[in-house]
C-alpha cells in the first residue's frame, strides 16, 4: 500500500516540479527536447569500452540538476531500479568477456567489468537526462514539442494517454489494496488466493475510469487531431543558445578525448 502511495506521489511530484519557475523550467520545451535527444544519441554512441570518454558526458546532467535546482543525489536515487536492471543485464558480460582492457595500476579490469560499468553509466546518464526533461517540462509540453518535431500524432497521443492511465491504474490499485488491508488486519501483503480477483477488479475498474477520462476529453472537443497543450505560464526564451551549447558540448566530449588529454598533461 505504501509503495503504491509513494508511486502516486512520485508521479504528482513530477507535475509539481514541472510547474516550478527555475532557469531550466523557463526554457522552451522544444529546445529541451532536442537537446536531450542529441545528448542521448551521443551518450549511447560511445563504444562499450570507452569508459573514460563517457565520464565526460556526466557534466551535462550535473549542470541540468543545478539549473533545475534539484539534488543530484535524490535524482540519482530515483533511477535505482533502472540501475538494477542494467546491472542484471551487464553481469553476463563478466563471464563472457574476460580479456584485460583497463590497467588502473593496482587493478586490471577485464572487458566484462568495463562494459558493465559503461552500460551502467550510459543508462544512468540517459535516465537523468530524460527525468530532468520531464521534471522541468511536464508531459503535456513534451508531447506538444514532439508534435512540433512531426512525431506521428498517434504516437504522441499514446504517450499522453499512457501517462494519464498510469496514474489511474495506481490510484485504483491503491484503493483496492487499502480496502483489502482494512479488512485483513495483521496480514502481510495480499494472500495469493485473492490475487486473481483483485487483479481482475483492478483491470476492470481502471479501464472504467480510463473510459470516463476519455469521454471527458471527447466531450470537450478532443480528437486525435487535437493540439491541446499546457498553457505557457513562463516566458520562454534562450532555447536556441541552450540547444547550441548542448550540441557543442556533446561534439567536444564525443570527438575529443578530453580526460586523456588532461591526463597527458601530468
Amino acid at each position: 500500500m505504501d509503495r503504491l502511495h509513494h508511486a502516486i506521489k512520485d508521479v504528482h511530484r513530477l507535475d509539481d516540479l514541472a510547474a516550478r519557475d527555475t532557469p531550466l523550467n523557463r526554457l522552451p520545451p522544444l529546445a529541451k527536447l532536442v537537446s536531450v535527444l542529441v545528448y542521448l544519441i551521443f551518450t549511447l554512441s560511445f563504444p562499450k569500452y570507452a569508459l573514460t570518454g563517457l565520464l565526460g558526458m556526466g557534466l551535462y546532467p550535473i549542470l541540468l540538476c543545478a539549473l533545475a535546482d534539484l539534488s543530484l543525489w535524490d535524482t540519482l536515487c530515483r533511477g535505482r531500479s533502472v540501475a538494477l536492471l542494467l546491472a542484471a543485464v551487464g553481469l553476463c558480460n563478466l563471464f563472457f568477456d574476460r580479456a584485460p582492457v583497463l590497467d588502473l595500476g593496482l587493478v586490471v579490469l577485464s572487458g566484462g567489468w568495463v562494459s558493465l560499468l559503461t552500460l551502467l553509466i550510459k543508462g544512468m546518464f540517459s535516465f537523468l537526462a530524460v527525468y530532468l526533461l520531464i521534471a522541468t517540462t511536464g508531459i503535456e509540453a513534451v508531447c506538444t514539442a514532439l508534435r512540433q518535431l512531426h512525431v506521428p500524432r498517434v504516437l504522441v497521443t499514446t504517450i499522453l494517454l499512457t501517462y494519464r492511465y498510469i496514474v489511474l491504474l495506481l490510484q485504483e490499485a491503491n484503493r483496492i489494496s487499502t480496502a483489502y488491508a482494512l479488512r485483513a488486519p495483521g496480514q502481510k501483503g495480499i494472500h495469493f488466493r485473492a490475487w486473481g480477483s483483485l487483479l481482475g477488479q483492478l483491470l476492470l475498474r481502471s479501464m472504467d475510469r480510463a473510459q470516463l477520462v476519455y469521454e471527458s476529453m471527447l466531450l470537450r472537443g478532443y480528437h486525435c487531431g487535437s493540439n491541446a497543450s499546457a498553457p505557457n505560464t513562463h516566458a520562454r526564451t534562450g532555447g536556441v543558445p541552450f540547444a547550441a551549447v548542448t550540441v557543442v558540448y556533446c561534439l567536444v566530449f564525443r570527438c575529443i578525448p578530453v580526460f586523456e588529454l588532461i591526463g597527458n598533461l601530468f
Binding site: 504528482h12 507535475d15 509539481d16 514541472a18 510547474a19 511536464g138 508531459i139 503535456e140 494519464r164 490510484q171 475510469r209 470516463l212 477520462v213 469521454e215 471527458s216 476529453m217 471527447l218 466531450l219 470537450r220 472537443g221 478532443y222 480528437h223 487535437s226 493540439n227 491541446a228 497543450s229 499546457a230 498553457p231 505560464t233
Partner: protein, 246 residues
C-alpha cells in the same frame, strides 16, 4: 424560439442487458434558460439519459435535437460545444496537471486563438470563484473545488445547456450552498440529475420524474417535490425540508 432540447420517443437498452429498456419512449422539451431537475430512484436511467444527450451512448430509437441540431455523428462536435456535461466523479473529468490547463482544454481543442483561450479560461474561473487556484495542481484541490473546476471546464465554451450528474454528491454543506449559488447565477439552461431533492428544489423550477424508464411526471418543482404520494409511488421520499422530524 426553438427549445434548446427536444427529445421525442427516446428509448435505450444496454447490449446484453436482461432487464429490458432502460429508457422507454421518453419525450420532453427544455426551453432556453430553463432549470430542470431530473429525479428518480437508482437505476432508473438518469445517467443513461444524460449520456445519450451528449452522444456518449449511441441513439437507438427516437429523435433528439439540441439547439436545432439533430443528434448524429456529423453534428456531434458542434452539439458538444452547445452542451456541457459535468460528471458525477470530478476526478474522472479533471485530467490536466493544473486547474488552468484543465479549464483551458476545451477552448484549445475548439481552436480558439491563445488570447481568446486565456480570456475564456479567466472568465470561467471567475464565474466559479476559483481564480486563486488557477496554477494549483488538480490533485491538490478539495472535493468542492474539484466540482467547481469541472464546471469551469465546460463554461469556457459558453454552453447553452449544462447537464449535471449528481452535482451535490460528496459536498459538505458549505460547498453545497456555494454550488447552488453559482448554478443559480448561470443563465444557460440546466438539466440536473440528482437524488438530492433539496438540491433540486433549490436549483430548479421544473422537475422530470423518471420511473421504470418512463416519464412519471413533469411539472413545477414546487408542486412535484411536495407530492408525497407521487414520490412514494416512484420509490422516492420528500425532500428533507418537508419531512417532519421524528
Amino acid at each position: 424560439m426553438d427549445p434548446i432540447l427536444d427529445v421525442q420517443g427516446l428509448s435505450f437498452r444496454y447490449e446484453g442487458g436482461h432487464e429490458g429498456a432502460v429508457l422507454d419512449g421518453l419525450s420532453f422539451t427544455l426551453e432556453r434558460g430553463e432549470r430542470v431537475g431530473l429525479v428518480g430512484c437508482n437505476g432508473v436511467g438518469k445517467s443513461t439519459l444524460l449520456k445519450l444527450l451528449v452522444g456518449i451512448l449511441p441513439m437507438q430509437q427516437g429523435t433528439l435535437t439540441v439547439g436545432g441540431l439533430a443528434m448524429n455523428r456529423k453534428n456531434l462536435p458542434e452539439l458538444r460545444r452547445k452542451v456541457g456535461y459535468v460528471f458525477q466523479d470530478s476526478d474522472s473529468q479533471l485530467f490536466m496537471p493544473t486547474v488552468q490547463a484543465d479549464v483551458a482544454f476545451a477552448a484549445e481543442n475548439y481552436g480558439y486563438p491563445p488570447q481568446e483561450v486565456a480570456d475564456r479560461t479567466r472568465r470561467a474561473l471567475a464565474r466559479v470563484q476559483l481564480e486563486s487556484c488557477a496554477d494549483r495542481p488538480v490533485y491538490r484541490l478539495s472535493g468542492g473545488q474539484k466540482k467547481l473546476a469541472s464546471i469551469a471546464g465546460i463554461l469556457t465554451l459558453d454552453p447553452e445547456l449544462i447537464l449535471m450528474d449528481e452535482p451535490s454528491a460528496a459536498l459538505d454543506p458549505r460547498n453545497r450552498r456555494g454550488l447552488i449559488r453559482i448554478l443559480n447565477d448561470l443563465p444557460c439552461a440546466k438539466l440536473i440529475a440528482s437524488h438530492d431533492l433539496d438540491f433540486i428544489y433549490d436549483t430548479c423550477d421544473r422537475v422530470l420524474l423518471l420511473h421504470h424508464g418512463r416519464l412519471a411526471a413533469d411539472g413545477s418543482a414546487r408542486e412535484l417535490l411536495r407530492n408525497a404520494a407521487l414520490l412514494e409511488q416512484c420509490e422516492l421520499e420528500l425532500p428533507l425540508r418537508f419531512q417532519q422530524a421524528p
